[in-house]
Amino acid sequence: MTAMAVADPALLTHPPVTGDRTRRRLSRPGVALAGVVLVLLTLVAVDPGLFTSTAPNETDLARALSGPSGAHWFGTDQLGRDMFARVLYGARPSLLVGLGSTVFALLGGTAVGLAAALGGRVGDEALMRLVDVLLSLPPLLLALLAVTVLGTGTVNVMLAVAIAFAPGYARIVRAEALVVRRSGYVEAAVGLGLRRPVLVARHVLPNTLGPLLVLGTVGFGTSVIYASGLSFLGLGARPPSPEWGAMLSEGRDFLSSAWWIGVFPGLGITVAVIAVNVVGRYAQQRFAGRAR
């Protein structure tokens, strides 16, 4: 769903006529709840110590694999580490990678898209054909390729996911920029003799960015999933630092005997992504309804 939103610029350039109806159908309490969850997640990511006093890497073999209880809300893992603390501490790397890769993807996509839209026919052709090539590859494959070249680790996973999503953004930015460039106010500005860099910075860029930021919100959820996926494959966070994807991978062999090791990190990913998506789509619809 989110991948489609990223890949489908039509959603923004041609706002859906059903926008009002969709907006009405969207449950407001759901959006509010998602907002609250997002605020909580942000707090957890900023300072997990606010919510638990247990260290995430503290092992205690005597209490290994105990189920959820009053003392350990999410149970303990194979080494007796408190899963609640690990899930909380895992929020930061997991969300940070999603955020970082979205930001990098937006920056890269904007640069390429603007350059294509404003760089003349040759530049446009060259850049957009390159983008076409990249878009023809499934994003996860592209990310895996990037990890292979860049090497593993949290930062590289961030970059890899960014590389996977940047082409989608580039295409949207280009389309938006082309529309904006031909709009009346830009032509007026040209008529007033504004220099090109000023024109781009003052008029084209700000008017292109709006829809992009909304898309970025939705894309953030997808980035979290992809980054967790790469971590699940052992390409991301280094043990013993907690990260949701890596924890999910560690827990998958225990689903029948100790479900809590895999389920809670998985819930973390699910809740975060759903919350971000609900808020993102809400913003998207608000924006689409108002844009033109």
Binding site: N57, L61, L79, T148, L235, P240, E250, R252, D253, L255
Partner: protein
């Protein structure tokens, strides 16, 4: 895909793969040996499905160093000598043999009437063709060639007699000759292009009790009984063809899937039952669990003695004594695996049992050693420092596809233990190529591995100074020690058990006293077997032999 890169050299990654997993069969949860004794008389016919956890990267026994290759191909290729589960040698394709006094040449009198399944006669020239193929640089053998390292050639004395020659004393060769890695392919197959053997299971033609009947990459290998088979090793329990008319090996890498397939009856036997599922398998009335410690090298961590601060023996000893090995192994493996005390596993010949309990967990001593070594400062993270440098060691993670036995989690337990005495372990991940290149160059502080071979000569592979990575060795501690060299060479030069026990005992003790490697656990194989299956036995490497297996299910 990584394989092509690695094929030219044996490599650390496969050390682990080649190593422990072994399958294991005799000493069984329900009491021993083959499960057949009480189950009535063997009957021919029927089929058995065996689930394994990995697919061989390469199916050519002469090239691959993986134990899964040897294990699967044992059904297809036979060897000169058979080593039983009690490490006794029996005639097989060779009916008798003589060894020269200097242990440099081995004369084998071949069994008559043996034929490959393509009709070719097994004779002296077939033996020569196979050994020459292994030794040829073009074969790029990762492991078999190291078993015949100083091979100089095979003399055909007459069609039924061969002499295999070495330039250095090679007493362990007799054991090597019993392994699948030195088994025999039809010379026709070798001539038709040995390259195919690696990629295509179906290309395998040997003299074994089964022939390859079908192969689906990544999924399964099917075997059919070889009806002409009449040369089972002595001690195999019966003669003539195998009982099973069909054998299917299914590749099910995901633990939960494999165990699920076993408990639901989709497969009859499953290899590598995860310790966490042992209880469930034991509780199932339709299944029994076979557990056996694999012979060979323990799972151990090798401390690179050429890299500061591990050049300081006190730091190495602190690591050796600062890991709560017993408790970690107990917790991570649910009490199914035991902790190791020696670089050799207890079921390996020449195991030195005097090492048992000789270097227990002692964090006080570990802290004292680190203080003495000058690592007295502490940084903000609680890591010890000396002259402003933190005591941080790099121990790369095995790429996920080679990881096994929950070793990453065990590693986290070790990380937590060492953190308590102020040592910080970093575990970066690399692709297998980088891992090998850097590992070879000695750029890591710690590497981990285990190795399956029921022969103490593996100590030479790991601790002799000439066993560098470049020569196919596995000296991951990068240790160069005169006494270790002398004793490992001494062991390789004789077949006298007393001399070998003494020499290898000294090697094991010295490795521990130098803290060149820290043994962690004894590789143990857990196999779940349906009670409808009988006569499921193992060879000395604790790999399954399906020759004597039969089933009630027809």
């Amino acid at each position: 895909m990584h394989v092509s890169r690695s094929r030219s050299r044996p490599f650390y990654a496969l050390v682990a793969t080649a190593a422990t997993a072994a399958i294991a069969l005799s000493a069984c949860g329900s009491g021993g040996g083959t499960s057949g004794a009480a189950a009535g008389r063997p009957t021919a016919g029927g089929s058995v499905t065996y689930a394994v956890d990995t697919e061989p990267v390469c199916y050519d026994v002469h090239v691959s160093s993986q134990d899964i290759t040897a294990e699967i191909q044992r059904n297809v290729v036979d060897s000169l000598v058979f080593e039983d589960a009690n490490k006794k040698f029996h005639p097989w394709l060779a009916s008798s043999w003589e060894i020269s006094k200097d242990n440099k040449s081995f004369t084998f009198h071949l069994r008559k009437g043996v034929k490959f399944t393509d009709g070719t006669v097994f004779d002296a020239s077939a033996v020569k063709a196979n050994f020459d193929y292994i030794a040829a640089p073009a074969t790029k053998s990762q492991y078999a060639s190291t078993l015949i390292k100083s091979y100089t050639g095979t003399d055909i004395i007459d069609p039924d007699t061969v002499r295999i020659n070495f330039s250095t004393p090679s007493a362990p060769f007799l054991q090597a000759a019993s392994t699948t890695y030195l088994g025999f392919y039809s010379p026709k197959t070798l001539a038709a292009g040995g390259g195919k053997l690696c990629a295509e299971s179906a290309a395998q033609v040997g003299t074994g009790p089964f022939t390859v009947a079908g192969y689906t990459k990544g999924q399964s290998v099917q075997f059919a009984r070889n009806p002409a088979y009449n040369w089972a090793p002595q001690g195999a329990g019966h003669t003539g063809p195998a009982y099973l008319s069909k054998l299917t090996i299914r590749i099910l890498p995901e633990d939960s899937t494999r165990v699920g397939a076993l408990t639901s009856g989709q497969v009859d036997i499953a290899r590598a039952v995860p310790p966490s599922d042992v209880k469930a398998v034991q509780a199932d009335p339709a299944l029994s669990l076979v557990r056996k410690q694999a012979a060979g090298g323990s799972y151990q961590i090798f401390l690179n003695v050429t890299r500061a601060p591990l050049t300081d023996q006190r730091v190495r000893e602190a690591i050796e004594r600062g890991i709560n090995i017993g408790a970690d192994v107990q917790a991570v493996y649910f009490g199914q695996y035991t902790r190791a005390w020696s670089p050799l596993s207890p079921t390996t010949p020449s195991y030195d049992s005097s090492l048992n309990n000789s270097w227990p967990f002692d964090p006080t001593l570990a802290n004292k050693l680190l203080d003495e070594a000058g690592w007295t400062g502490r940084n903000a993270k609680g890591v010890r420092t000396k002259d402003g440098k933190a005591l941080t060691l790099v121990w790369p993670l095995m790429p996920a596809e080679y990881e096994k036995d929950q070793r990453t989690i065990l590693g986290q337990a070790i990380q937590a233990d060492l953190k308590k005495i102020g040592i910080d372990l970093e575990r970066p991940t690399f692709d297998i190529g980088t891992y090998i290149t850097k590992g070879y160059a000695g750029q890591f502080d710690i590497l981990d591995a285990s190795w399956a071979r029921p022969e103490a000569d593996i100590l030479r592979l790991f601790f002799n100074s000439t066993s560098t990575a470049a020569t196919g060795g596995q000296n991951a501690s990068f240790i160069s020690d005169k006494q270790l060299d002398q004793w490992t060479n001494q062991g390789a030069a004789t077949l006298d058990p007393a001399v070998r026990d003494a020499a290898y005992g000294k090697v094991q003790e010295r490795v521990i006293s130098l803290a060149a490697a820290v043994p962690i656990y004894v590789p143990t194989t857990l196999v779940g077997v349906s009670k409808q299956v009988h006569g499921f036995t193992a060879d000395a490497s604790s790999w399954p032999l399906f020759y004597g297996t039969w089933t009630d299910k027809k």
